[in-house]
């Protein structure tokens, strides 16, 4: 920076420490609460860890609570995992092949298809809740993994990202491939896929987070408790009839719900930031 006054340094660092505090504080409180017994958090505030940490987590992971239909949280996490991975893989596969078609082929109606894909940007599930539910119900996909995953894997954003990346690949690759007698499928598998690895990695982080954190969609199409995902399942722990929510267990569930996407984002931080900034370009 231009000035190098130590006073300014102190101000900068203390501001950032406040920022970090704002981020961490709610998570810290949740963590502390999840380590106490129900009686200890029902009417008092705890600011330091208790002794029921392992008990609480093993309770929710294995037996679950009445309020969530006695479905263990581990099953909800399993459902979330299948949904998140399904959406990630599905979106990447169908986006990369459609971007390949649009960039590397000349064919009638190319622009028409491009616009159809573009339109998905303007129709988030929130604006067509009821009719989409009806389609899924008519196809008999309620309470199924297919129903959770399939309708969410069409994605203009991922297609655009791959399209943008393909456009930066020099034409000489195609020419060389042609000279060597490689057809389009060969070219895609042997050259394009390996070159796309970084984009795929970056996109995976974003899509996994997107898939894991879905709320409205599973809420609509799962009625069977065994199909609940953790992010929407937590709702039933807050609204309990005729009694006080078990905050210690609710907070433990909240933490379990945030750990997998957080681990992915933190672990692949560099790819993630690059991917995020690129997708929005």
């Amino acid at each position: 920076m231009v000035e190098n006054r130590s006073f300014q340094k102190v101000v900068t660092h203390s501001s950032l420490i406040i920022g970090v505090f704002i981020i961490i504080f709610p998570i810290y409180i949740a963590l502390v609460t999840s380590s106490h017994e129900q009686a200890e958090v029902a009417s008092t505030v705890q600011t330091w860890f208790g002794s029921a940490f392992l008990d609480n987590y093993s309770t929710i992971l294995t037996t679950g609570r009445e309020s969530t239909g006695a479905i263990p949280i581990s099953l909800m996490m399993w459902n979330s995992l299948i949904m998140a991975v399904g959406i990630t893989v599905g979106k990447i596969v169908i986006s990369i092949i459609s971007a390949y078609a649009i960039v590397y082929f000349k064919f009638p109606l190319r622009m028409f298809f491009f616009w159809i894909i573009f339109v998905t940007l303007m129709l988030p599930v929130e604006v067509r809740i009821l009719p989409t539910y009806e389609v899924v119900a008519d196809l008999g996909l309620l309470n199924s993994y297919t129903g959770l995953i399939l309708p969410l894997i069409a994605s203009a954003t991922a297609t655009f990202l791959f399209r943008q990346f393909f456009l930066t690949i020099p034409d000489e690759y195609v020419e060389a491939a042609r000279v060597d007698g490689a057809g389009p499928i060969r070219f895609f598998i042997d050259i394009l896929l390996p070159l796309s690895q970084t984009s795929i990695a970056a996109l995976s982080v974003i899509l996994f987070t997107y898939g894991w954190n879905q709320y409205l969609w599973p809420l609509l199409i799962t009625t069977e408790e065994s199909m609940t995902t953790i992010v929407m399942g937590i709702k039933r722990m807050i609204v309990v009839e005729d009694s006080v929510p078990e905050w210690n267990l609710t907070m433990a569930t909240a933490l379990l719900a945030m750990v997998p996407p957080l681990a992915v984002v933190v672990g692949m931080q560099r790819q993630f930031i690059k991917g995020l900034v690129e997708t929005e370009k």
């Binding site: 409180i29 505030v45 129709l123 009821l130 009719p131 954190n213 905050w247």
Partner: protein
């Protein structure tokens, strides 16, 4: 748009596009057209017959005081969330841009909320404000301020705004920081030599140069507040108390899914579609070069 050198194949491109296009047609375009169609129909009480009613459903919506109240709630919620989240994250991004030692630790932690689902962010803040045992609620009580968002609509609004803004901090921070790092150091040095202090430099140089990023983020944050915050509202307040936090998306869900008012819900969907389409248009038309790399 396309390569100079392309492959020629009669059927392969269609085959490659088939999965994406099929899913889009079945799960996006068909339901959206159904919403359009249902929005001009009215069903009788038993759901047996429906009648074409032109724009009656829309008329009903725009004269319904509940809907108008929900529009106002949405506006307040969206503006507050966007302003709160953008200003906080810009402040921290500017500080993080200045720091050298420890920068990566600060940045890594500022990313966290991105990974957290809106509903979960809502639950975290709900607990801290919970009447009876919430830490912030008790602190407020200590200051002789009476907090109960279960009964007080304004307080419920404050709660969902804080939770949503907190959730969106990471995204805004990443983009502001990327924008700041693209600003050439020489501008700032020149201004410093002319005697401009840090505050003045920020408002006369950095902030204007950052405006493409800011504008892009405003659009993204509006979309976020409009649609992605459904989880916050549903998990924390369920639109209450007395519809004080019932934003439009939540109302569509409640009227259509819980209340089963087909025509009305479809008409509301159509209005929301119009809003997303205009926002997407603004984004692509005016935010073409979004971030100055």
């Amino acid at each position: 748009m396309q390569k100079r050198v392309t492959f020629r194949n009669l059927w392969l491109p269609y085959l490659l596009l088939a999965p994406q296009v099929t899913i889009t047609l079945i799960f996006f375009i068909w339901p959206a057209s159904q919403a359009l169609y249902q929005s001009v129909l009215m069903e009788d009480a038993f759901g047996l017959k429906s009648e074409f009613v032109w724009l009656e459903n829309f008329e009903a919506i725009f004269t319904d005081s509940n809907y108008l109240a929900s529009m106002k709630t949405t506006a307040i919620f969206t503006v507050s969330t966007t302003l709160l989240s953008l200003s906080t994250s810009l402040f921290f991004a500017v500080k993080a841009d200045r720091v050298i030692r420890g920068a990566s630790v600060y940045k890594a932690i500022m990313l966290w909320p991105y990974a957290i689902a809106p509903a979960i962010a809502g639950v975290l803040w709900l607990f801290m404000f919970n009447p009876g045992n919430g830490i912030i609620m008790l602190a407020l009580e200590h200051l002789a301020y009476n907090w109960n968002h279960v009964l007080n609509g304004d307080q419920a609004m404050v709660l969902v705004v804080i939770a949503s803004a907190w959730n969106q901090i990471a995204y805004n921070f990443i983009f502001f920081l990327a924008g700041l790092q693209m600003i050439q150091q020489s501008y700032i040095e020149a201004a410093a030599m002319d005697g401009a202090g840090p505050t003045r430099r920020f408002w006369t140089i950095i902030f204007p140069l950052l405006s493409p990023t800011t504008f892009f983020l405003i659009v993204v944050n509006i979309v976020f507040a409009f649609f992605s915050t459904f989880g916050v509202i549903h998990a924390v307040t369920e639109g209450g108390p007395y519809q004080a936090t019932e934003i439009l998306v939540y109302k569509v869900f409640r009227d259509g899914f819980v209340g089963l008012d087909l025509g009305g819900s479809a008409a509301q969907s159509v209005i929301l579609m119009a809003i997303v389409i205009s926002l997407t248009f603004i984004q692509f038309r005016y935010v073409e070069r979004r971030v100055e790399y």
